[in-house]
Amino acid sequence: MNWEIVVGIETHAQLSTRAKIFSGAATAFGAAPNAQACEVDIALPGVLPVLNKGAVERAIRFGLAVGARVAPRSVFARKNYFYPDLPKGYQISQYELPVVVGGSIMISTPDGNKSIRLVRAHLEEDAGKSLHEDFHGSSGIDLNRAGTPLLEIVTEPDLRGAGEAVAYAKTLHSLVRYLEICDGNMQEGSFRCDANVSVRRLGSDKLGTRCEIKNLNSFRFLEKAIEFEARRQIETIEDGGTIKQETRLYDAERDETRAMRSKEDAQDYRYFPDPDLLPLEISEAWIAAVRAAMPELPAQKKERFISQYALPEYDAALLTSNRETAAYFEECTAAAGGAAKLCANWVNGELSAALNREDREIGQSKVSSKQLGELIRRIVDGSVSSKTAKDVFDELWAGASSADAVIDAKGLKQISDSTALERIVADIVAANPDQVAQYRAGKDKVLGFFVGQAMKASGGKANPAQLNEIVKRKLNS
């Protein structure tokens, strides 16, 4: 029996404002407990929320980027539940009238591009954090995160399987960073996904009962959690069982999902409009101003890379998959003085492999864009061969200051001096009369023998193209 895995994703993107969404407390990560929790955040009686313009502006930017409708009027609502890290007893969110409606995000799949429809994106505040370590049987509450602005971005159930879900999450992650509305730091919880997973028999157009897996804070966990959950649901149904709609948690250590201790009333949030907040009105003029200041989006950047740098689409897509890589490539090309395709090959090849080996982001690269560009400049001007350049790259990665310093210190400079190369080749031709005879008798393969010998004699530093040419000329003369 073939099954189709249907996934919808809700993402909480923490907006990159300096202050909180309803108060003037700071949002910086890593502060001492409660150092950034003011009266509004800890919900002292009598305080009133005042909406942060920066949070709204970021929501507008997102709405415009995904082709959504930015609502001229939206409303904040109270989502009521009790938990110690939510001191008000309700979370301020948006319910019936969110700020961003509709829109879509294009993802790339093995079968080509696919448009994923968005239901909505709404503004809300984050809760604080509960620490359950040893406080003499108590839990410790840190409210620094309480009131941090979030944009919750919700898709239609348009994703099929873990692969598409991860492709969507990565595309969205790249987009919010391009837009500079979210730093995308998943370890710090700035970008977290909930996956709604259901399964149905292939060909059916009726959605199965879904389970929601909460708080997946890495692409790998997202993938693994969906794979596990889909398998669990399929096995349950094939064994004659039924799926119960519930919220589940993914346990990365055991690679499984399990039901959260069921809170029987958990789903009854009793939303109602927050009387402390007036409707949010967004004028056409404001939207136009935000549109005018929009940064270049991934799709636009890709097109520009193709036309400006004459790159194949494949290279351009890889380079623009995130903003940092695109910036690195442009700086590298500037430092290399052109040679864009060669720079693209190095960034997508050698550099990317080195980063993967050490599980680093490009922002943590041990070779700067300028260092790599200067190395590529030396390949272009013939100072080093591509092969030697890889050794130089390794030296740079290990901490060397510049390509030129490595080339000088190790004497790697390619011999492009034709007189010196001619002398080396002449010596080898003279020392190997048998091979010369073979070559002249028509055995072309012997050419490689001479090139190899000459390269060895040059200490590997001969310019290969030039050497080839000199060997041919000498043998044919």
Partner: protein
């Protein structure tokens, strides 16, 4: 409209109110009279009127994205029953 005793108790539980059976019974009668009032209001045809989100016909004022608050956790925590290492202590919660 009359709520059942179970519904009254469920609403009380959602609001974290401890109610005795006698109180639930009394509340049930009080709520019924409130529902009576709501029923009267709902009899008015409002199909052509856009719902209000707030009693005042004004829009939300916005605050500039600036940090205006400093660290005053020691002062703010003076009213807290239990504090340790800068954290508010609460009865243990386990999810």
């Amino acid at each position: 409209m009359q709520l059942s005793i179970e519904e009254v108790k469920r609403i009380a539980r959602l609001a974290r109110l401890a109610v005795t059976d006698a109180e639930a019974d009394a509340m049930r009668a009080q709520l019924a009279s409130i529902f009576g009032l709501i029923e009267k209001m709902q009899a008015v045809d409002t199909s052509s009127i856009e719902p209000m989100a707030h009693a005042q016909e004004v829009a939300q004022r916005l605050r500039a994205d600036q940090v205006t608050e400093s660290d005053r956790h020691e002062l703010l925590q003076r009213g807290a029953p239990a504090v340790e290492a800068g954290l508010y202590l609460v009865p243990k919660v386990i999810e």
